[in-house]
């Protein structure tokens, strides 16, 4: 812990680029998913950027409305489909409410992509179990489409998705497609169904226990509200998954998105910089306590 170490780590301060300056994107299309969730499709105003922009499944971005503020969203479209980008927006706060008031053609700010991504090379050749809850399907969806677009590279695929009620199910059009896809096993559940619901009822963790996917050569990818994540890990452990076989993506309050503003840490890890994608083994010690 000497000063020479500091100096070694000190990087060049002379770069001109201002990472906080957002790019302008235009809203192409708005899909109302549930009463409180909408998906917006958008593309860059700058045509050059439209071509050059790349990202990976699992990464996130900061969307902003000038004069209102910035908020963090994961990119829910797949990098294999390049014509536009998508973000799912749950109406909960100042910025998300403002985003819900927008119409097609609106200009908003975009900076990103930030964070790490799902380890596709690690998943290659393996069976995959996707476990999602509520709006947590958004990051998974990017990965699922990414995987489905290269279907032959992966083994058996299970998708287990749940929401609080039927009207809270997001991306229903995708769910329909996946249910029809014979190469997948898709299970959809709601905590409590309405009269017309013919699918499963119960929490995701319970449905997962019943579905009991085999842990052999398998990776489980979990994303959802913290309560779902917390209750799913023990079930996966019972099913024989080791912490290394479980991958999750976390959400925390963020401001900068690039590991500086300080608030999104879990232990020494910053969700924005070291995550949002973590293997369960990496965060095991902290997760029960601060997530």
């Amino acid at each position: 812990m000497t000063i020479t170490q500091i100096k070694q780590r000190k990087k060049d301060l002379d770069r001109e680029n201002n990472v906080y300056m957002p790019h302008i994107v235009l809203v192409d299309k708005i899909i109302e998913e549930t009463p409180s969730v909408r998906t917006i499709h958008f593309h860059f105003k700058d045509a050059k950027l439209n071509n050059e922009f790349t990202f990976e499944s699992g990464q996130f971005a900061e969307l902003s409305i000038f004069g209102v503020g910035e908020a963090t969203f994961c990119i829910s479209s797949s990098p294999t489909r390049k014509d536009h980008l998508e973000c799912g927006i749950n109406r909960v706060g100042l910025v998300t409410n403002a985003l819900h008031r927008l119409g097609v053609g609106a200009e908003i700010g975009f900076r990103g992509p930030y964070g790490n991504h799902f380890p596709l090379d690690l998943m290659c050749g393996k069976n995959l179990v996707f476990i999602g809850g509520g709006i947590g399907l958004a990051p998974l969806r990017s990965l699922i489409w990414n995987v489905l677009d290269n279907r032959d590279k992966y083994g058996k695929i299970d998708i287990i998705y749940g929401a609080r009620s039927v009207s809270d199910l997001c991306f229903k059009y995708d769910l329909d497609t996946w249910e029809e896809d014979k190469t997948l096993n898709t299970v959809i559940t709601v905590d409590k169904g309405d009269g017309k619901w013919r699918g499963k009822e119960g929490f995701v963790s319970e449905v997962l226990r019943d579905a009991a996917p085999s842990c052999g050569n398998t990776i489980a990818i979990v994303c959802g509200p913290p309560i779902m994540i917390r209750s799913t890990f023990p079930v996966l452990e019972q099913l024989g998954f080791t912490p290394d076989q479980v991958i999750t993506t976390l959400e925390k309050r963020m401001k900068c998105g690039i590991g500086k503003c300080g608030r999104c840490n879990i232990g020494n890890l910053y969700v924005c910089r070291d995550g949002p994608v973590f293997s369960y083994s990496r965060i095991k010690d902290f997760i029960s306590d601060e997530y």
């Binding site: 170490q5 780590r9 925390k252 503003c261 840490n265």
Partner: protein
């Protein structure tokens, strides 16, 4: 290595020469609050009364609030501008503890992504250190690897040896500042010996000490010792004094504002002591006070060293002196349960 010296009487002239080329920032007292502010070209009385600033010098690079982007609603849409600030400045009189703190924050803002706003100010600034021989009773810099009379984190280091300052030239930028001046003399052997005496005496004045050896390991083992954290956090009132006035605390918040047709995206200090700091719509991972206190201590002495190899505390003692309830971080560190006493998670 001490190489040069200057007579105290010539300091005003020296600062004056510098002030012609760039702005010189010195400790300034207004209403009893000492902070680094622009020099008025005359007054150097701070050399007599100055011990350390209340507002740490980090504010020169990470101001309490600054405009990141400004917007203006025009008929053909929004006009967006980023303020340009490339003016050169010299901070004269930074203490070794605060200089180390700047070096510590430098790492954060250069890590992975360069922070435009911080580094555009930082790279245009030269730091001139001033040795400290009058510590507060709350100072404990010798416990955090800082020598009150020595610093490698500045460009020039001045040390008071009576009628003169001896000068260490640390960087080429600092060296260049001295080249132009005829007031600078070569330091003699006697000066260097005198400096040695002063150094020993200054270090000796620091009575407050805390053992920081193994703190990270101890913190790791008592992370889940809720009893301990509840006990030490009981009297904390969750204000932002310790974090805002800490020279190494760098957390910030970004907020937009729009009044009539003008608006801006601002960045301002934020504090892990505030409940709203981590609040998310559905839940708050650090709702309880003891979690927030734990975060502050662990960030300084466990997480920061894990990530960047150095404790994020330089022993300046501000958080102890200024705390409304005398919450003393050295007591919390010293009182850490030595060996593992882990409680179950929640």
């Amino acid at each position: 290595m001490i190489t040069k010296k200057i007579n105290k009487k010539d300091i005003r002239k020296l600062l004056g020469t510098w002030n012609q080329e760039c702005s010189v920032i010195v400790p300034t007292r207004e209403q009893g609050i000492v902070e680094m502010a622009g020099w008025d070209n005359k007054d150097i009385s701070f050399l007599d009364w100055y011990r350390n600033t209340v507002v740490p010098p980090k504010a020169c690079f990470l101001p309490q609030s600054e405009v990141m982007i400004s917007f203006q609603k025009k008929e053909n849409g929004l006009k967006i501008e980023v303020p340009q600030d490339e003016h050169k400045q010299i901070i004269f009189g930074i203490r070794p503890c605060d200089a180390r703190a700047v070096a510590i924050i430098d790492q954060v803002f250069a890590d992975t992504y360069d922070d435009y706003y911080y580094s555009s100010k930082r790279r245009n600034t030269l730091l001139i250190g001033l040795s400290c021989s009058n510590p507060y009773d709350s100072c404990f810099c010798t416990s955090t690897d800082v020598n009150p009379t020595e610093s490698e984190d500045v460009d020039l280091m001045f040390m008071d040896i009576g009628d003169e300052y001896v000068i260490e030239e640390i960087t080429s930028g600092g060296k260049a500042l001295l080249n132009t001046s005829s007031m600078i003399k070569k330091a003699t052997k006697a000066d260097i010996n005198k400096a040695k005496e002063v150094r020993a005496a200054s270090v000796d004045k620091l009575k407050k000490k805390v053992d920081t050896k193994d703190v990270d390991r101890k913190l790791q083992s008592c992370f889940n010792d809720i009893d301990y954290w509840e006990q030490v956090s009981a009297k904390c009132i969750s204000c932002g004094i310790c974090t805002f006035l800490c020279p190494t605390c760098f957390c910030f918040d970004i907020n937009d504002e729009m009044i009539k047709k003008h608006g801006a995206r601002y960045r301002g200090w934020d504090s892990c002591s505030f409940r709203s700091y981590t609040k998310m719509p559905m839940e708050n991972p650090r709702e309880e006070k003891w979690r927030r206190v734990r975060q502050r201590v662990c960030h300084k002495f466990e997480f920061y060293p894990m990530n960047l190899g150095i404790n994020a505390c330089t022993g300046c003692g501000r958080c102890i002196r200024l705390c409304p309830v005398n919450w003393d971080i050295t007591q919390v560190i010293a009182g850490l349960p030595g060996e593992i006493s882990v409680h179950s998670g929640k």
